[in-house]
């Protein structure tokens, strides 16, 4: 990964962390390279690429919602939601996914739900939206 790509990726995850939303970026080789390396997942939005995923963050609303105080972020699944809590160093948060809300306190989760993975690891990126 080039320094330019690393800087672009840093800009993307910082925007997600600060706003909960993906940044609007012009299309270009660095962005396309990040997508090819599975650092981001792009979707087309009105002719321009939009960042759908920059793990653990999500630009969509189909995965996991993370709430802490008045702030909200979105992850692609509960694993990612817990990853957002870890990456941001949140002392307390809730992670809600598929109708289940987990309370996270100091990194610990108090709930008897389980996390289900249907797709074997080697196929996760075959269809990452489904995974």
């Amino acid at each position: 990964m080039t320094e330019r790509e690393l800087a672009l990726r840093r800009r993307i995850v910082t925007a997600f962390a600060e706003t909960g939303e993906p940044p609007e970026l012009p299309d270009g080789p660095a962005l396309r390279s990040l997508a090819a390396q599975h650092v981001v997942v792009l979707e087309q939005a009105g002719g321009a690429p939009r960042i759908r995923m920059a793990h653990p963050f999500a630009g969509h609303r189909e995965g996991a919602r993370v709430d802490a105080g008045v702030r909200t972020w979105w992850g692609n699944c509960a694993w990612d939601g817990l990853g957002i809590v870890a990456a941001l160093g949140l002392p307390a948060a809730t992670v809600t996914s598929h109708g289940v809300t987990l309370r996270v306190q100091a990194g610990a989760v108090g709930d008897d739900a389980v996390f289900h993975i249907a797709v074997p690891a080697r196929h996760w990126w075959d269809d990452i939206a489904f995974t």
Binding site: M1, L6, R9, R10, V13, T14, A17, Q37, V39, H55, P56, N76, C77, A78, W79, D80, L82, G83, I84, V85, A86, A87, L88, S97, H98, V100, L102, V104, G107, A108, V109, D111, D112, A113, V114, F115, H116, I117, A118, V119, P120, A121, R122, W124, T131
Partner: protein, 61 residues
């Protein structure tokens, strides 16, 4: 990947939340670090293994 209540029918693997929370810390905890660099597949595989996620289902490549 999704949350299930214990006892729901499913295909594939299930992991308890204590494990997923610990895995999430190791997998994603550095994503905002200024010196972040992409991991190799071998490093990712080691992280999965460190949390007991081993065997064919968890093989990344």
């Amino acid at each position: 990947m999704r949350l299930l209540r214990s006892g729901e029918d499913h295909e594939g693997e299930t992991v308890d939340l204590r494990t997923i929370a610990a895995l999430a810390r190791d997998w994603y905890g550095d994503r905002l670090a200024p010196d972040w660099r992409p991991r190799s597949a071998e490093e990712s595989q080691r992280i999965l293994g460190a949390h007991g996620l081993t065997g064919a289902f968890w093989r990344l490549g």
